[in-house]
Symmetry: C2
Subunit: 139 residues, 2 copies
DNA sequence: CAAATATCAGATTTACTGAGATCG
DNA sequence: CCGATCTCAGTACATCTGATATTT
């Protein structure tokens, strides 16, 4: 084991890479991207949101919101219309199709979390999550 | 706190992003890239290596080894010569300048590890590292 | 001829930036 | 005129793939 492989920063980036690989692979098997799941989750409560609000909730750049919504509209998962109250905005709302899609993806995402954490016993999982919460970026 | 922010995969990716940001910023302050540090570390024992061997030790793609070595040669940190025993290969060796550079960068990298883990007490640091080692990708 | 090595050009992914158009 | 919103084009970064020339 070299020094590189024992650096905390390296361990973090490799573990993150593995986790991301598992999650995006499971989503890809369902024909979805991570961005789509994040946007559907933001809309899953049912309340219509502007694209800025979606970006804020899903932690996505405005550009990526625009592009991903175009794909979701094509799938019929969301409805995007100009806001009658403020023509600068779009009002985006999840459809029935989108609700079903989100439920399906949410199950996949939950299973992926379990898969990612499988190498750890319950106690170590708890410690890991506690530590990771303390290591989150400021904002 | 939304569901997104509590997903283990999300916590991992955000913590990794923060750690990477801290490390690469500290290295950038010294005018170095992460790749340079990783290659210098691989060569720091003093043994000459082929570029394939460097890529293997530093976990870098062959392409990135080639490009990064060109920069390191320009800095005088390494010496790259055709292998007299096998003309397909280059023999790369660290120079005195490279040793000094590596020592300087190693101190920066060590300080960055401390900075990354600063939000955690000793026990949680230990648990985190134990968990992360179990979450490393195969291979 | 098959395999290995280094190099070059470019694709890919995720995240972000700048500029234009529209509107409040 | 200023600021917010959405869209488009393009940048930045790390990583990887394909093609090529050379040598074993």
């Amino acid at each position: 084991m070299s020094a590189l492989n024992d650096l905390p920063t390296w361990l973090l980036s490799q573990a993150s890479h593995r986790a991301h690989g598992i999650l995006s692979e499971r989503l890809a098997e369902a024909g979805a991207r991570g961005y789509e799941y994040r946007i559907l989750e933001a809309l899953s409560e049912g309340a219509p949101l502007s694209q800025v609000a979606i970006g804020s909730a899903a932690r996505l750049d405005r550009r990526d919101v625009t592009v991903t919504l175009t794909a979701l509209v094509e799938q019929g998962a969301v409805d995007r219309q100009p806001d009658p109250a403020d023509a600068r905005r779009n009002v985006v709302q999840i459809t029935e199709t989108g609700h079903a899609r989100f439920a399906s993806l949410a199950a996949i995402v939950a299973a992926a979390q379990t898969e990612v954490l499988a190498p750890l016993d319950q106690e170590l999982q708890n410690s890991l999550l506690q530590a990771l919460r303390l290591l989150q970026p400021e904002k």
